[in-house]
Symmetry: C2
Subunit: 250 residues, 2 copies
């Protein structure tokens, strides 16, 4: 759009190891290689591509980190099915590097949580509600331990997410989750009766699933996240600071 007509495009020689990676990736994306299928041995790939083993290995490493290929127990290569965690990890690290603020994180989490809870209200099964109840019970047990509460809170929202049965949304939410929940610990600790309020919110959320009451679910989602935000501010932290300062991913 913005580029005017230039005579020649940039010339970019593609290294052989990249071509190896792309060739394998194409096979996977096209469906000719399916998750779980073994990729050949290195020697075999050397033969097929006609390049040196070092080159093949570099190409494989390119794909390895993304989860497209993975080494099974015997270190043999197989096609992998990249899981959200892995992608979310990379995404949340990228967000850190971009120095996104907690405000952005909070806004996005609010929006995504509201979307997620609506689907959950529509689709929750008794089993899923029982799972959520169990989580609440465990949280009550652990009320004195903010770290445990934060972990259980994270699990609660994960369960809630699964209840929505929408993997796209799940994937979209996970980077935010990874960045936000480490601070739940702090937020809960900072608020008077923080754990108490958290548990109540969870209870009301489950109750709204039971009643299939979307408005109630939205209300308590908002309250729950507002509480988190208040705790965050009460702990003396600034919503406009970049996220990497707090989440110590050492």
């Amino acid at each position: 759009m913005s580029e005017s007509a230039e005579k020649f495009g940039r010339i970019t020689p593609v290294p052989a190891y990249q071509m190896v990676a792309e060739a394998i990736e194409r096979e996977i994306l096209s469906g000719r290689l399916r998750p779980g299928d073994p990729i050949g041995t290195e020697a075999e790939l050397v033969r097929q591509f006609g390049v040196n083993r070092s080159t093949v290995r570099e190409g494989i490493r390119l794909l390895e980190q993304g989860g497209m290929v993975h080494r099974d127990s015997s270190r043999r290569l197989a096609v992998g099915l990249p899981h959200y965690d892995r992608l979310a990890t990379r995404a949340s690290r990228a967000l850190m590097l971009h120095q996104v603020s907690f405000r952005e994180l909070w806004e996005a989490t609010m929006a995504l949580s509201l979307a997620s809870i609506e689907l959950a209200v529509e689709r929750a099964t008794p089993e899923e509600i029982a799972g959520l109840d169990a989580n609440i019970a465990a949280t009550e047990e652990a009320m004195d331990d903010p770290a445990a509460v934060a972990a259980l809170d994270s699990e609660f929202h994960l369960l809630l997410e699964k209840t929505g049965r929408n993997r796209v949304l799940e994937l979209a939410r996970e980077p935010s989750n990874m960045l936000i929940y480490p601070t739940t610990n702090v937020a809960v600790r900072a608020t008077e009766h923080g754990a108490q309020r958290l548990i109540e919110a969870h209870r009301m959320l489950v109750e709204s699933l039971r009643r299939r009451d979307i408005e109630m679910a939205r209300l308590w989602t908002r309250r729950h996240l507002t509480d988190w935000r208040k705790g965050f501010e009460k702990a003396g932290m600034d919503l406009d600071q970049p996220v990497d300062l707090v989440t110590g991913m050492a």
Copy 2:
């Protein structure tokens, strides 16, 4: 949670090339290496890590694909700041491999678009509105060319997204965008006056930004996406089919 206390954890020897990658990644995430900084030459890394150059190179390749490091014009290595595109590409490929359905995609897009448009309504500047207007004008010009319309539609929503000024949401939306917009082409073609309706929706969306009318924005976002869905169905496609059948990412 589920694991009981076992005496010994699984012993997993970590290959040297992974340790190289992790060491570099740690430096980046800790902030000691910042985006743009040069990573040493391979020879230097060989010296520092005390491993062979092949090993160093394999380690570097691990990071390269994720965008953590990238080769600048002179092929020298530098710390990169992974952009959304790259992550989104990986994410959308993963969604394809997981065979998510168009229904999931549509639901997520609906939720994310509504969230996004609300922020845009709050924050739109005259310049941004002008940019959106320009896009609409271009779309009108190209009305006879469904492919061009689809591309401009994609650009329109990208602009809208930027207007929201929330990078977390931006990142969350992009995988869905990448998967959904290739089919806009088909959807527009299938509907009577498809391009016309698309342009009208865009116009009303911009108008609601101008008026800062959130309800209006939400309404037209819903209509716009419902139109897309109708076109999709009218083209004889099934919402519950996995996304990879249509998007020919050859």
